[in-house]
């Protein structure tokens, strides 16, 4: 019951989704669309599960009077206000609705700024980690420098062949390496998928009982 049924369901679902790709028959394709809808709905339920975990965690912190419990309140208030605005305002997705304004002026700036922190981290990584210690490391940093120069106006100014060299690096060595990695990764993915469907790989089930 505890292991056999989930493994059987996994096998059936996996087999059907793999095989439907080759069968254009309407019955199969219509079933496929229904099952795909189920999978997407499951994803949404799994997301709600995360929200429940989040609420539990912060309640826990507040109840245990953890040091930074004030920030747990911030999280919970943010969550509750977004849910409230989303469900109470019938046209929450329209521009200018409070839900949308919160999204655009609170969530978007914070996430975009966190994303842009990368520019700073790239610079510090360049200083401390790009060391020409070995031939491989030297190649990496030389290629990075050429491509960086070839993509901005100053590259044209330094030497006219830099943009061309950039294009060559992207189209020849970069292409060859990317394709090799892609084939390897693709095979690894397929082998793992097959093992999941056949019930050989069971990491997703967690424990053993």
């Amino acid at each position: 019951m505890r292991r056999q049924i989930p493994l059987a369901l996994c096998f059936i679902a996996g087999l059907f989704m793999a095989v439907q790709y080759f069968i254009p028959h309407p019955t199969v394709q219509d079933t496929y669309e229904i099952v795909l809808g189920w999978l997407q709905t499951l994803l949404a339920f799994a997301f709600l599960l995360g929200t429940v975990s989040l609420i539990r965690m912060h309640f826990h912190k507040i109840r245990n009077r953890a040091d930074d419990r004030a920030f747990s309140w911030v999280t919970l208030l943010g969550l509750v206000s977004m849910i409230g605005l989303g469900f109470l305002h019938p046209q929450h997705q329209l521009p200018g609705s409070p839900f949308n304004l919160m999204f655009l002026n609170v969530q978007v700036p914070i996430e975009a700024t966190m994303f842009s922190l990368l520019a700073f981290y790239i610079a510090s990584a360049a200083f401390r980690a790009f060391r020409a210690r070995t031939l491989e490391a030297t190649l990496l940093l030389v290629a990075a420098c050429i491509v960086m120069l070839g993509r901005v106006p100053i590259g044209d100014l330094i030497h006219e062949s830099i943009p061309a060299a950039t294009q060559w690096i992207l189209n020849v060595p970069n292409l060859a390496a990317k394709r090799g990695v892609m084939i390897g990764v693709g095979l690894g993915m397929m082998a793992t998928s097959l093992k999941i469907i056949l019930g050989i790989e069971r990491a997703w089930m967690g424990g053993s009982d």
């Binding site: 700036p109 996430e111 975009a112 790239i122 290629a143 993509r151 394709r179 397929m190 469907i197």
Partner: protein, 211 residues
């Protein structure tokens, strides 16, 4: 007026995140915790209206009330109960005694996506590559691409020790890999810096109107 207030809120939050570059501080913690809450709420609403409502709630309730079906359309109303039921099973994990029931839904989910991925991966990552790499060795470029590809594949060959001819190829593969990584690094830098420029422009132009 409303716009100014919203822009100022956005600007203060932007600066709070940047303050992390100096060191961890309450302003950053505030922004960090706020975005966790806000985004959880945002996605909850979006997921509900885009998946749960059209796939479960609407078909079940509307059809039972005798209205036109939406969502699955052709399916019977009880078909729409299945994803709802499977979804609810996931919540058994909060009750340790029956937590294992959640695996039923997980099995369908994991198995379904594993099966769904197989053929597209085979097509995009293997078959199309065969077509693209069946290159006659008639130009330096083609020779380099083929050598690079063979080298990279040799590097990812696990069944033999990297010695002899395989070792030579694997070494070549590493060379190509590193040049490729350098190139990705270089061109990703450009996009990331554009983002930073965008944020600075938001602060200086949209908020302070300095430039």
């Amino acid at each position: 007026m409303g716009t100014i207030i919203w822009t100022t809120i956005g600007a203060i939050l932007t600066l709070s995140v940047y303050s992390f570059l100096y060191k961890d501080n309450p302003f950053y913690k505030f922004a960090e915790h706020l975005v966790v809450g806000i985004s959880a709420g945002y996605y909850l609403v979006i997921y509900y209206y885009n998946f749960i409502d059209p796939n479960v709630v609407t078909p079940v309730f509307q059809l039972r009330l005798g209205d036109q079906a939406i969502g699955f359309g052709s399916g019977a109303w009880w078909l729409a109960l299945i994803p709802g039921l499977l979804g609810l099973l996931l919540y058994t994990r909060f009750f340790p005694k029956v937590a294992w029931v959640a695996r039923w839904s997980l099995g369908i989910y994991v198995g379904g996506y594993a099966g769904l991925g197989l053929s597209p991966v085979m097509q995009a990552r293997v078959i199309e590559q065969i077509g693209a790499n069946a290159l006659p060795l008639t130009s330096v470029t083609n020779v380099l691409i083929v050598v690079g590809l063979l080298g990279t594949l040799a590097y990812f060959f696990f069944s033999m020790k990297h010695k002899g001819i395989l070792g030579v190829f694997a070494r070549t593969g590493i060379v190509f890999l590193m040049v490729g990584f350098g190139a990705s690094f270089g061109y990703t830098v450009m996009s990331r810096i554009s983002l930073l420029i965008g944020r600075v422009s938001f602060l200086l132009h949209d908020w302070l109107h300095l430039v």
